[in-house]
Symmetry: C2
Subunit: 328 residues, 2 copies
């Protein structure tokens, strides 16, 4: 990958050539040497996309709902990007992938870019790659980006934190179950949707959600509760209106700017950590590491003391400016 | 927490005072300043416990099976430790906790130490804390430690990697479903159990597993497939025999030693990373970080270039011995 080719890809991506976009995201996701250069060049163009997260239990109909929202947004003439985050699991992997197939309907639409983000690979892989992919979609000028994820773990919750507006999808009867940590959901939802609203128990579920919200107030933005039947598109337009209202709330109160600043600080922090990890990886290939590992293996030295010795010997100072050996 | 008190706790823990053990694990889990000292003192005593991982989908009966294994091991006169790893999730949290309640039966038994490891907190929290808790239980001389986890994510798979012997629990009918990534399970299982074997479809499920194993060979250790009805203890003794046979296989072929060495190398690597992260955290509190964050917020500088500038300015050298500015 020469610089010239990267520049070409970026030019093409800015013209909404989605094959070029896909290539750029792959380079960044794989940690290709050109990744930082790609992100650096695109970064100044970021900051205008509205990121909408959708989360809910497997089977709640998130994908069908996302599909309906894509259709609706397209009917209004806007382009849209979608990141479908797959938490890979030996137990649920297949089902989630199956669920996603219906989004292939939009593959032929040049106004929709859909990307599946896998979480295979190292821990934190998907939660590191997703904000970067979001930045790329933002930079090329897509006005709306959906991030759809199954809310099963910490990584997925972090991804939801990349969203300006988070839609939490539940189903009728959900209120009776002990399966859900409702307080946790109240913390992340900006808009609640009772999907499959043609089934019994919708009113009880709505009431249950309202009661939870009553306990959580006072709210500057009280999350609205909508009902949808995603399979036939019922309620999709109202849902989109609620999302737009939330966006207006964020923008008019200055919260959007605050959130974006906080996220950039977080990204900077993550970049510092990533750079340090890169140096740690190199350290693990060195002779000193091998020698210390042998000491640890013989149980003459514990791993934590060995780690400090390794870093002190390499004269890695405290980043805050301290001298080797002065830290605890 | 004075050094004296830590020493007292360690002495008490070595006498199998489980309240002291609980306190030590909490100190380590919370990253208390005494954590490294505790681990360093206990580390030379590690290396003899047999760690048995149990994983399976929610509802497969893992907890009941663990409960049965505890009873069986106790009837043989051995002490046992149990780490129950809860992947916290807004969608499944409650159910898993409910499942665990039955293990409370053993609370009054002074030969059983049960600990629930939560995965709340930062990403990787539970996968960092679990190997350390295992080391503590190993160091105090418990001959068997069970690690029970729902196999829903990368963190849980990493925890299974801490086990010498991994039991994968499935249910009849599992073979027909598209829910499971069977190849992934074949990779982690040393012993397979078809639990709820009083239900229909046991034979098909066993056949399905055998076929998968046929595809995966040749095996130095071909994972046996057992059937259990955990609720009435049926098959538990045979399951334990299979676990012991696997242990003998590992020990007699030298694989146990190789696995333990590899795990210690991994722990050393993790310790290096953790120590670097600690230094990064301090960096994030400094004036330089704040100044660079303001540049990033104004989009005059991207986070990745800012991170490199921060580390270069602080003269953090490459741990491999390079000079500031000489790295890519």
């Amino acid at each position: 990958m020469t610089e010239r080719t990267t520049a070409d890809l970026i030019d093409a991506a800015l013209q909404h050539d989605f094959r070029a976009v896909a290539r750029l995201i792959s380079l960044v996701e794989d940690g290709h040497p050109s990744a930082v250069s790609i992100l650096s060049q695109l970064f100044p163009r970021t900051g205008s996309a509205h990121v909408v997260g959708l989360t809910g239990a497997p089977g709640s109909g998130k994908s069908t709902l996302t599909d309906g929202l894509i259709r609706h947004v397209r009917s209004l003439g806007d382009e849209v990007g979608v990141l479908a985050v797959d938490p890979s699991s030996p137990f649920t992997g297949g089902a989630i992938l199956g669920d996603r197939i219906r989004m292939q309907d939009h593959v032929a639409d040049p106004g929709v870019y859909i990307r599946s983000m896998g979480s295979r690979g190292h821990l934190g892989g998907v939660s590191e790659a997703t904000p970067k992919a979001l930045m790329i979609l933002d930079a090329i000028g897509l006005p709306h980006v959906f991030v759809e994820t199954v809310g099963v773990g910490q990584a997925e919750v972090e991804i939801v934190e990349s969203a300006d507006t988070t839609i939490v999808v539940v189903n009728p009867g959900w209120g009776d179950s002990v399966q859900a940590n409702k307080a946790g959901l109240m913390e992340i939802g900006d808009v609640f949707v009772v999907n499959k609203a043609d089934r019994e128990g919708v009113d009880e579920t709505r009431r249950d959600l309202e009661q939870m919200l009553d306990l959580g107030g006072p709210w500057a933005w009280r999350p609205p509760i909508l009902s949808t039947v995603a399979t036939d598109g019922e309620g999709t337009a109202d849902l989109w209106d609620a999302v737009r209202k939330h966006r207006f709330f964020l923008e008019s109160t200055g919260r959007m700017n605050d959130m974006r600043s906080a996220r950039l600080r977080h990204e900077l922090h993550r970049a510092v950590v990533a750079e340090l990890l890169r140096r740690a990886e190199r350290a693990a290939e060195g002779d000193r590491f091998v020698a210390l590992a042998a000491e640890v293996d013989a149980r003459r030295l514990d791993p934590w003391t060995a780690a400090r010795r390794l870093l002190d010997a390499a004269e890695v100072r405290d980043v805050s400016g301290g001298r080797p050996g002065t830290h605890r």
